[in-house]
């Protein structure tokens, strides 16, 4: 069996790009949402978490409508920047962003909510700006939860299949991430090839969750006596 490692590289590429975006946007949005109360907040929050409960095909379908040749955003991107989303790696990144966003968002909300508000108040009375108190107090204390969100989003991005297939399709060498490669290997009866990628992705998944568990246990111990 010849080993073509493109699916691994593509999967990593997709996961790295999507997780970077999801981490920053998810963190900022979570910070905003934990501090503000406004009309329609709960509706917006439910909408943000929707990809978690919808079948990936539905998410993919929605993205196709939005980013397709005649879709609102698809047209816009094409006309202004010459970017095509459907059947490209960009499509895979977008699919990955949408499905992994809820994981980052939820972790970040939980992480920010766990930071004692009084610490922020204390920093304010000492003259710290909102920006400074975020980076010196809130971020370091929320870091374990933020990192958990980061790792989960990364793992989810790595394994994204349904929405990716609908938006980016299966173009060998261009959009065949590991999960997509597995599906088409099985379809065409190449069980050995499928098995190879299954082993790789299980190992990656095990590695991340194992590391995350170990790391958060270590952190819990570190923070245990600090009350």
């Amino acid at each position: 069996m010849e080993t073509n490692l493109t699916p691994l590289l593509l999967s990593l590429k997709v996961a790295v790009f999507s997780t970077s975006i999801v981490f920053v946007v998810g963190m900022l949005l979570a910070r905003f949402m934990t501090r503000r109360h406004f009309f329609g907040k709960h509706v917006l929050e439910s909408f943000l978490l929707l990809p978690l409960v919808l079948p990936p095909t539905v998410v993919g379908f929605g993205l196709l409508l939005l980013f397709g040749k005649n879709g609102f955003l698809g047209k816009l991107l094409d006309q202004w920047f010459g970017i095509t989303v459907v059947f490209t790696l960009t499509g895979a990144v977008i699919a990955s962003i949408v499905v992994s966003f809820p994981l980052m968002y939820q972790s970040a909300v939980a992480a920010f909510s766990s930071v004692d508000r009084r610490l922020e108040d204390a920093a304010r009375t000492m003259g710290a700006s909102e920006w400074r108190l975020f980076w010196t107090v809130v971020f370091p204390l929320a870091w374990p939860g933020l990192l958990a969100g980061f790792v989960l989003s990364f793992a989810r991005g790595l394994g994204e299949f349904g929405a990716t297939l609908m938006l980016a399709g299966y173009l060998p060498g261009r959009t065949d991430t590991i999960p997509v490669a597995i599906y088409f290997a099985v379809e065409s009866g190449q069980m050995e090839k499928a098995m190879f990628w299954v082993v790789i992705i299980v190992a990656l998944g095990m590695g991340t969750t194992f590391w995350l568990n170990w790391w958060s246990r270590r952190n819990l111990r570190r923070y245990a006596n600090q009350k």
Binding site: T125, G127, Y223
Partner: protein
């Protein structure tokens, strides 16, 4: 001189107080849930009253109808009930957090030495005792050279002996710093030991006044 005259609707009652304090220790005394902490938070700018005015000397902190002065610009020190020390910073980092750029370092070293926490600078909050945390919180609040110090039940978590030591410490510091100390407690003995003036609160109103501070607007 601090002038406070505010109203704020709380879940169970209307907070409605009016008092002035000089460079002295004033104790807000009363049962839990009588609105004492809300007063401190209003002065600090962490809570906005519904109506009235708060003024420290020439500086207007709050006036009904205009934008309140941001917390960061009020230059007050605040010692929180459970100290609110930053758990991920050492004692030294905690203390220096609010120090402005100009070299206040000498005065700070002196303060650290007076209060007797100079051997703790490299420790983290979870490694020191309650009484030591209390002193660190006090030094941290004073390190910004505030014009007013607010203390919310600062000694309630301490055992009797430590408590007494810290009370003496507060008296000494107030004598040295000569700024108004406004302190909340529900311990009568403590109030009597520390206060130049005791303002007694009940359900959001001032009910007694142990010195001749004018008694107050009650609508």
């Amino acid at each position: 001189m601090l002038t406070v005259s505010i109203q704020k609707q709380l879940p169970d009652f209307l907070l409605d107080v009016c008092f002035t304090i000089q460079r002295e220790i004033v104790v807000l005394f009363g049962p839990s849930g009588s609105g004492k902490t809300t007063i401190l938070n209003s002065i600090a700018g962490l809570v906005t009253p519904d109506a009235g005015e708060i003024r420290l000397g020439e500086t207007l902190f709050y006036k009904q109808g205009s934008k309140p002065l941001p917390v960061q610009q009020r230059n007050i020190g605040y010692v929180f009930q459970d100290y609110a020390l930053f758990p991920h910073m050492t004692v030294a980092q905690n203390i220096r957090y609010g120090v402005k750029r100009q070299g206040n370092e000498v005065a700070l070293d002196e303060l650290v030495a007076t209060v007797g926490i100079d051997h703790l600078l490299e420790k983290y909050p979870h490694q020191i005792s309650g009484g030591q945390k209390q002193r660190v919180a006090l030094v941290r609040a004073l390190a910004t050279k505030p014009d007013l110090l607010l203390l919310d039940e600062p000694l309630s978590a301490l055992d009797a002996d430590t408590r007494r030591e810290c009370q003496d410490e507060l008296l000494r510091l107030q004598a040295a710093w000569k700024i108004p100390f406004l302190m909340v407690t529900h311990d009568r003995e403590e109030a009597e030991r520390l206060a130049n003036v005791i303002l007694t609160m009940e359900d959001g109103r001032l009910v007694g006044d142990n010195r001749s501070v004018r008694n107050l607007v009650t609508k």
